[in-house]
Chain length 353, copies 2
Amino acid sequence: MSELDNLTSPSIFIGRQGENGIISFGSGQPDLPAPREATEGINLLRHDLRYGLIQGEPDLRMALSKEYPKSTAENFVITNGASEGLDLIFRAIGKGKVLLPRPYYYSYPPIIKLAGMEPVYTELNQGRIDLDDFNRKIDDCVAVLINSPSNPTGRIESIETLKEIEDITRRKGIYVISDEVYKDLIYERENYHIQGDQVITVNSFSKTYAMCGVRVGYLWSSDQSLVNKAIEIKTHTSMNTSLIAQDMALRAMKAPHEYILAQQNIWRERRDLIYKGLCDLGLDLWKPEGAFYVLPKVDKPRELLWTLYKKYNVITYLGEWFGAPDRIRLSYALDKKKIEEGLNRIELALKSL
Amino acid sequence: MSELDNLTSPSIFIGRQGENGIISFGSGQPDLPAPREATEGINLLRHDLRYGLIQGEPDLRMALSKEYPKSTAENFVITNGASEGLDLIFRAIGKGKVLLPRPYYYSYPPIIKLAGMEPVYTELNQGRIDLDDFNRKIDDCVAVLINSPSNPTGRIESIETLKEIEDITRRKGIYVISDEVYKDLIYERENYHIQGDQVITVNSFSKTYAMCGVRVGYLWSSDQSLVNKAIEIKTHTSMNTSLIAQDMALRAMKAPHEYILAQQNIWRERRDLIYKGLCDLGLDLWKPEGAFYVLPKVDKPRELLWTLYKKYNVITYLGEWFGAPDRIRLSYALDKKKIEEGLNRIELALKSL
């Protein structure tokens, strides 16, 4: 079963929704349309195509600054998605250990290592940060990377936990990198912006506005010297983020708040459906409070994944790619009919093993 | 004169063409329009905005493969400009020394260092590679970075030199990274694609099609394991290059060859004008054979630059940013009237010092 043994990443599964009746619980992107505002009214023929500021277009940064208390446009860098935001920040910090909650988004360890830093893991408890374990491990570290709502757990951290992390890191002078790309996809409460001079927020237009392939994200920090360092690195490694993409991001922000609320309702219904469905199949899983992932515990994850794929035309991701070897990850970024059909097939696969 | 002392990069000069009568010889981008083909016919409202392949859109890579002998779409990675192509390649190689001709494009040393590598310099002779010095220094290196036509010298390497570099590096098993972003801007001959399994070409749509701010470039190599490593890094650090930008690049390739020829004629006329003008002022400089830069030797470059800027409203760049401390760099990416007016002001400034 060498094909299975070699499965160290989801690469063979990407972009295969609907192909030959495949139901994919793999893809980590919204299937819903972007708001009309994102694309309407852009005249490409007349668009300025010359270099823009490396930091990002001033009008977009100005619009973002209104969402961050006591901020100015200077505190932002517009990036090629949140991925580049993370890459720039870790390269700007440049050395030392980074505390990383496990399970984690699969790009985190490589991004940290590529920047010459070293991940140190704190184990999540019920999908949430365990402050005891966190406190035991943080003293060695120069930075913490948190992700609430989390990919792959679907969990959010309580405001108390976030405030305690603010406190600890402020006292100890440790950076907090807060990846909030699912900030508008919380079912339980409003997003809480973690505060402080030691905080760097990384964010994206991809999930909120269903425009993953356009690649616009940003980083925010009130530590201007760190922001400047990120800009300096970006000057050499990619220059300005594509101007058309930035234009679309600015326009997307003009979508009415109902656009976001309507999406949240759809995600909540899907969450309820898949959570109940998997519980009914007897699986052990955490109830998602944000994002669009579930991470059930299963016996023989590799065998299940392969059976689902080969016999039942269902794509899932191995938990091991996210630091959770006894689990599989399912994204519920697909419509309810497909979720129901997928659940039926999962039931058959589980019975067959 | 602390403002002058602190001038370690062109940041204060960027994007200031025409502002309050400023004539900028600073900007390294075409002032000419992109071809209509680049933007015509794109329907943003109906565009797929979901993640694309990290490697880049297949139709764009397929179109590029026709320009590279014995290539397939698999040999390419579409990147956020040539900058990201260089960054990915050096990160993929990851350690060792890189031989770098000096003067160099100012991002080269930081890109090499950010990847954990070390630049070793070979001094250009008359703006061209000196094979004796090159051969003396290459044995220590794992890679060579060449740039013909060159920013900032405007020179091209002879085909004999390029073939000799092919030979040496093939025999010694040393990578050649060939930055050919000015490949369509050669006044003297056709571009020569350096060949071999040890070669990585980095290229861009920015200069050929006057779309710098759109940020589309690519890397090419027949070393598939190196290409795959670059894709793996990009998976974590930025994901796919913006889909709209890739769409524009593919369409730009459909512009008739006359578009490129017409531009070359304009650049040649400007080259002749500025070269003669600066020679007539008694300056010592190399005649550009490609790209759109001249790099004259001047007395007291910092004082001249500052006088030009403060008293004569003319922007130039310090040669020291490019490893040429006794020179200044002028881009002639501006229309002939402005070049003439700029030359008049330079004459006044030189006389005043």
